[in-house]
Amino acid sequence: MKKLLYRHETYVLLVIIVLAIVITAINPSFFTVENLFDLLKSTSLMGTFAIGMLFVLISGGIDMSFTAVATVTGYTIAVLLLKHGDSMNMALVFLVAGGLGILLGMLNAVFIYFFKIPSIITTIATQNIFYGLLTVVSEGKWLYGFPEWFDEFSSIRVFTLYSETGAPYGLSIITVIWFVLLVISWFILKHTVLGRSIYAMGGNIGSAQRAGFNIFGLTLFVYGYMGLMAGIGSVIQALLVQTVAPNSLVGKEMDVIAAVVLGGASLMGGTGSIPGMILGVSLIAILSNGLTLMRVPSQWYEVVIGLVIIISVGVSAYRRKKITRKRVITESN
């Protein structure tokens, strides 16, 4: 019980529960299976980005360029779909987007490792370069009208239920993709030497170096993984809205970083977990969904998000401080 109070995640969960009760009291349609599946589907995009961000934050870095990477990969597959759509399939789309994402992510890693530029500077720079080049090439044009099979894939449901009005709903394939990524990433972080090495590196990079960890390899992996998630995310985005717009993602980095930090990851590196991250992403998702259901004007959305972050991060930091203080005193006695 004490351990639970010590954990940041407990507070996020608490906030989620309170929020769910309040929203349901105002608009009962929040607490329905239909809304849940809907929420899961639309959250998959941010949730996928958040996986990559979690890896980067645990390793002690940060990536501001992933939205630009996702814009580049998204635009690339959109162009390919429009030109050669009939000879392509879903696997190929994921392969191209993911592969290109990994490459761009690793480029970040190379800059960060060899030139020892702090990751925040490096990735702000590469964000501008990737996004700038794309704007030049694309001339800011929106792309749509993808092949029918691409649209059909997005509406695949693992099982289907019908609402009272007869409208079909269910667990979307997009949500399933996110879930699979979550499980794989959880396994990497928790049960592989690679994953634990990422934590170790984020905890104390100097010690990791002395202990013989391959720091370059780890950096490549972490930013490559972030790139992969950006690539897959761009496909999810295209599936969800069936449109690729060069300006739809850049600028949304902060939401993702906030969600991951809310889930217990530290900007100082070394901490964070997949379950925590899921809570963080859920809180942001429920909040925005709930505000819409409660008919709060959308202008208030950001104010509320900010307040929730301050409150939940603040409360757990305060609790932690108190507990650590108590422990120091009892130990010295």
């Binding site: 030497v193 090495s197 005193i329």
Partner: protein, 498 residues
Amino acid sequence: MTVPFLSLKRVSKQYAGVTALDSVDFELQKGEIHCLVGENGSGKSTMIKIISGTIDPDPGSIIEIQGEPVQNYKAINAIDKGIQVIYQDLSLFPNLTVAENIALCELVGDHKRYVQWENMKKIAEKAMARINVSLPLDALVGEISIADQQLVAILRSLTRDVNLIVMDEPTASLTKHEVDSLLAVVKDMKAKGITTMFVSHKLNEVLQIADRVSVIRDGKMIGVYPAHELNDKKLTFLMTGKKVEYRNFTPELKSNVPILECRDLSRAGDYKDISFDLRPGEILGITGLLGSGRTELALSLFGITKPDKGEILINEKNVKIRSVQDALKFGIAYVPEDRHVQGLINVQPVGDNIIITTIDSLVNKFRLIDKKKKRERIQQLVENLAIKIPGVDSPVQTLSGGNQQRVVLAKWIATNPRILILDGPTIGIDIAAKFSIHEIIRELAKQGIAIILISEEIPEVFNNCNRVLVMRKGIIVREFDTAKVTMDEIQDYVNGTF
């Protein structure tokens, strides 16, 4: 004599023309506890690096392990030969559990792919069983005590076959009690045939259990001595090449009116019922273990924390010290325990660090900083405290520990304090520098400043103070007149074994 486990023969090392090691001979017998002592910059770290294979010695140097000369000796060869180095910073991962810290490096070294948490615990338990210690395996390393962290670092090196453990300044941040348990562990390792090499710039408890001591000075090996033949005085002479004699401190009291009085000062969880007085020209020592309340009391006197009850009198007037600004107004200055975190702005030049406390008095009529005044003030303080610096523009972090501490002192002396609180003023400083800091402190007392010297090192308070307060669990257990007591008596009160 048997073949030594490791021997260095005529080992030299030059860095860009500067000789760090000059034809050093050094031997470690199997299973012995060996101390290498020397001042900062004497070549100790270079020796560690050569033994651990992280740097190459100059051509002509010979390294032999178990009688066999080794060629092209690298870190990986050292690990293969069972040589492990525990650095002063311990190189642990604060965010991982005890079990992981112990086992992870081995898993990485063996190119394992997956982590079995149960297996990790087994590795950790095996290592713990080897030296009869027990730590909570699931606790985060960042949340256990420094002493336990040290054990984790030792345990980590025990997961493989280890013949020699080199410990760099292992006791620097441990309390007396913790040092004792560390020494017990080392004795245990000795019984298992593991050689231990302590490297230190301090004369410390480690000497009690050492078999032999090698002394290094200015890159040259001065000699190897059986530990029981050495005492503090002799060792200090060997390390510094200078005779240093302590004279006991007798204050020249300027007046009998106390400048500072505390009456029944208490703060829950920190200290309780503290009463003492302090006269100008006195050096009052406060000693006690970490967490005894010594630093917490100082923080209250400097206005950082508020006492719950009790009175503070300055010049016989009841005052409230609510903030650091208040404390400065009353002429109180505080030199903190951790100079890097609390005392200095490391990347800033020496000069700017010195004047930071008095910058308000250096402005001209346009409220801008008067460059000339600033230069003069800095020059004067640098000379007064004999700070050795390449120039006032060099960043503080490039100075040695002793000179950094002088900069901190200078910065507070600039405020012309009437009460100066020094918290662990010589932590991490080598002996020669330490003595000169003591000289400065005595000189300040002579000028009529009332000084509170807080230190964990009993010789430090014993030799420099006329009175010593011993704190334990937040209360003052005893006040001593240093002329009428021995160091051992004070030690007993500190440990609570009276």
